[in-house]
Symmetry: C2
Subunit: 607 residues, 2 copies
């Protein structure tokens, strides 16, 4: 940990999840990933950690304190000092294109590796990481759906770090309801379009560290249907691009009107953008007309996984800092000693039971999130590159099912975990002398952007759980069910298996109850408790994954040649899983109480 | 609501709790309070609301954005523009001395009225309200324990608004463990003391709007015992006071070293204070030597009630703003309409089930906190001024029992409620265009200061519940038990009564379980789950109080002459109580799961 950075990472735990639990080395047998190995992943990990210690970590506090500034006359945005260099280092070290195909300039690393880095980079600096994160998404859309000239000229520019990208969906009066957007596209003579509209919350919408910015803008072509069915996607560059040479030909008619004043992520320029103020904003259609939302969803699904990883990364670094502080901070005496000695020794606060409780709570939530995030990321790789069609399909179904849960659980539970990190610090946690208050402020946005967690719950209950008549959902529950069945007499974990099994049944019953309400036709009642259901499901899934890890840790412990560190590590994995099962999982009970409650009187409440 | 202020208050609800539910008009029969009436309280309420609309509310955003600044050379602090005028208006309108005795310059208003105003002022401006709040506490200590000259000269200066006061307990390495403080007091020739030390987190430690500041400082007299038993309390004025004339004679040897950089409450100057840098800091003993902590506890208990009220005030104003926004913000279409119409009408987000759920959650938490806070405040009045000794003693016991719960429940649940307010706003909630992000930042400190919520839980479980061999605790549980017994066949609330009764028994069992662990001698295990127990108890108490209100609302509804507004109000009270019982109370189940869990492995976790 560099002195001017609060960046910390639990590399041992990350490697355990990757190589011992998920055994991602199996991916290296897939031809697409055959260039990679445990060793090469280890080298990349070292390189990512170095990047964080040297650039992203130190930039985090600077970004928060100095933030971005907007020049009202030139409309230019100045990003925090160090951003340009950090972006260059990020790109030069290969982290932007890591998981891209070789044709697209990447090294075809499994997406799960990119996910691990997303976590690590978010631990170091969420605001900064959003610049390459959105750029990568934009690049993927162009690569999948863009015209040949876009792929030929834009992708290499992005890959080299010279150009960045953004996602322009939201407008002042079209947030969650994207289909209500008012931006328009008028057909030009040369096949291009004239874009006109105002877009809001555009992360990285303007910057001073790249030569051009490719905005992916949703707009409605004149005459297109109302609503989401009439929305098309356009590539709208900050500087015009000659389609034949790829050269920049001049400024396009778009600019940043102002920056949002936010609670956190000050290092990222969140812009209110004007397109076509002078009726001269050139845009190029991506893919087919009126199919914009489908292309955007490709970005969105990736982005949602990315947001879940942000929740993990921030809660993880907050926990590691709080844990470190608790081991150093001396305060008070041992409660057992109080009455025996006249001047008992002062102890580190990590020894106070309530502090232990708070720390283990954070730890179990963080490790639970990591288990879920990496599991989901692995599904993504398998769904794209598995050589077995059945596996591919199965992984795709699970990926769809888990995405809204991962996004919401990691951002809401992550936020609550960070509040516990602050509480661990006491008064110091409320000050800017320590990193946790910034982490809390930065992380609050994650439950909102890329679809609020309420929207995620609707996606889960209204769409994902119904996929294939509920078979995917049932099949996932079955994973936990078989695991419990197999281990119900486990010598160290039988009690926890019993508890997990109980909650798996409860989730099944909750789902059935919701579907019965839906059948009765009251749509409001059917979705009223989608959020509590999603959280209960999340708790259960995570308990299942943590107990899988605990069973594995028990097996590892039976090896008598373990190092002291490994012994401690595996013992702690078991305790963490037990803590989660006994002290976090029961929260699912209260969420399910809402799901099963006959009280729906809030629906006719007169506000 | 003034345009430049986010201040809002639910006056109807406040009056319901005061006059219909708690019937505080019975206090006016007590001779000490006989000058007051429902009408006079109503006038004061109007005056308080006007003060908030005109001064405190508009100052809130200014205080947050501009904050306090410290001049490193002069050591002076500049408070946000408008603070001086707001303080003058606050004092001139009688809110500083409201509940003080007539001898002390007050009007002997019941403390519960002062509590209501504390809530209202916190809704308008927490950072500002801390200046008069701590001044009032300091004044009470001086009035109770100070020497005659202090009472004669200091109290009137405070009452007039010319001088303020502070509490100086914490030091950089003595936070929760106050007894470990290092500040010293050396006997001077004239009976005064020379104070030396550094104090941290001193709210209002320096200001530019009053002529003098009276610091109440804890320090150890040379030769006094170690630990908390050797701590004495001193009056240490910023400017020296002549004991014979009360006149200011010159600057004392103390100054503000620096301001803390905080996450919120920027309008309040949180100072690192130096006392006796030149060995010439004059202080005067308050009360007896080595009794300092007892006097401080008088302030502390009041302060804890005040912090609970801050939690209430902030969650209340966040909810009211979120509710107002949800009724105005148009987004999306009704989920029932989606497939029927080609262009269905767009609706206010308050009509989306998930938003209703979030709003009712906030509302039920806010009204629950208000029920608990006002009930506790009433106990305070009765414990001090009741004419019946038995009532007095009983009220005192309940006050002691409820204080840590009120402080913690209102600050933690208040904070979570504000996160729901942000979520209701969506992206806008994360920006400085709306008040909720500031409320979240400001409110985070409440779970920490005046004793962290972990400390409160230890106070509850280790001390308060054991008072009189547990009789006070059992007697409070009995209140809810008898209520359930009486109403178990209530025509509208029988199901909720059953649920409450079940949780009351559960709390009893939880308490018994904890006391059995304690008897076995494992002190760590005995207090490990003090916090979850406190929260479960808080949920149960609040459910009990809200259901008492619901029963009353049912009675009121049987009156056929009700206005439309009253009908709506009482119906909403019932729905809110039901919502709490079905959707918030069950969280107690998960807290109790921790209390009853056999898993205490976190105690030997190797961090």
């Amino acid at each position: 940990m560099a002195a001017n950075s609060s960046f910390m990472v639990d590399r041992r735990e990350i490697e355990f999840v990757l190589f011992e639990y998920l055994k991602i080395q199996k991916l290296f047998d897939i031809p697409y990933y055959s260039d990679h190995s445990i060793e090469s992943v280890g080298e990349m990990l070292t390189s990512a950690i170095t990047l964080c210690n040297q650039y992203l970590g130190p930039l985090n506090k600077v970004g928060d304190r100095i933030g971005c500034t907007h020049n009202k006359e030139t409309k230019e945005v100045t990003t925090p000092p160090g951003t340009k260099e950090a972006y260059k280092q990020f790109v030069d070290n290969g982290f932007l294109t890591l998981s891209d195909s070789e044709q697209a300039g990447g090294i075809q690393a499994p997406g799960i590796i990119a996910s691990v880095f997303m976590e690590i980079f978010s631990s170091a600096n969420q605001a900064f990481t959003m610049y390459p994160g959105l750029t990568k998404s934009a690049s993927h859309v162009i690569n999948h759906f863009g015209e040949e000239w876009m792929q030929k000229f834009c992708i290499p520019k992005i890959a080299s770090g010279a150009w960045t990208g953004t996602m322009c969906l939201t407008e002042p009066s079209a947030g969650s309801a994207v289909g209500d957007l008012r931006s328009t596209a008028k057909r030009g003579k040369d096949g291009s379009f004239l874009i006109k509209g105002v877009k809001q919350w555009i992360s990285g919408g303007e910057n001073d560290f790249t030569e051009n910015i490719l905005h992916l803008v949703l707009a409605r072509i004149e005459g297109a249907p109302a609503g989401i069915e009439g929305v098309s996607l356009f590539l709208v560059p900050k500087f015009r691009i000659d389609k034949n040479s790829g050269k920049i030909t001049g400024k396009n008619d778009l600019y940043c009107i102002s920056l949002e004043e936010k609670m956190g992520i000050h290092g990222n320029s969140t812009c209110l953008m004007s397109f076509g103020d002078k009726d001269d904003c050139q845009g190029f259609l991506i893919g087919k007309e009126n199919q914009g939302i489908n292309y955007m969803f490709l970005m969105m699904n990736e982005a949602r996984i990315g947001v879940g990883l942000q929740g993990l990364g921030q809660a993880s670094v907050a926990f590691l800092n709080a844990e470190g502080y608790a081991k150093e901070r001396i305060q008070g005496v041992d409660i057992s000693a109080k009455k025996d000695a006249s001047n008992p020794p002062r102890i580190a606060i990590v020894n106070h039971p309530d502090v232990k409780r708070m720390l283990l709570r954070q730890r179990s939530i963080v490790e639970g999130m990591r288990a879920l995030c990496y599991t989901t990321a692995l599904m993504h790789d398998e769904s794209e590159h598995s050589t077995n069609e059945k596996d591919k399909k199965r992984a795709h179904g699970f990926l769809e099912l888990l995405t809204p849960i991962m996004k919401s659980w990691c951002t809401d539970m992550g936020f609550y975990s960070i509040t516990q990190s602050i509480q661990t610090y006491g008064g110091y946690g409320f000050t800017k002398d320590y990193p946790v208050e910034q982490l809390l402020r930065d992380s609050k946005i994650t439950s909102i952007y890329e679809g609020t967690n309420g929207i995620q719950a609707l996606d889960l209950v209204g769409r994902k759980m119904r996929m294939e008549d509920g078979q995917i959902f049932m099949s996932w529950l079955g994973r936990h069910g078989s695991f419990v069945e197999k281990n119900k007499e486990h010598k160290d974990l039988s009690q926890e298996m019993l508890m997990l099994g109980d909650y798996v049944s409860k989730i099944g019953r909750g789902a059935m109850h919701m579907s019965e309400i839906a059948k009765k036709g009251n749509k409001h009642a059917a979705i009223l408790n989608a959020y509590p259901f999603m959280m209960a499901f999340g708790h259960t899934i995570i308990c299942g994954l943590l107990l899988e890890q605990a069973v594995l840790a028990c097996e590892k412990l039976s090896n008598s040649n373990l190092s002291v560190n490994d012994k401690k590590f595996y013992n702690n994995k078991i305790k963490t899983a037990k803590f989660f099962t006994h002290h976090v999982l029961p929260e699912a009970k209260s969420f399910l109480a809402s799901v099963l409650s006959p009280d729906i009187s809030c629906l006719d409440f007169e506000f």
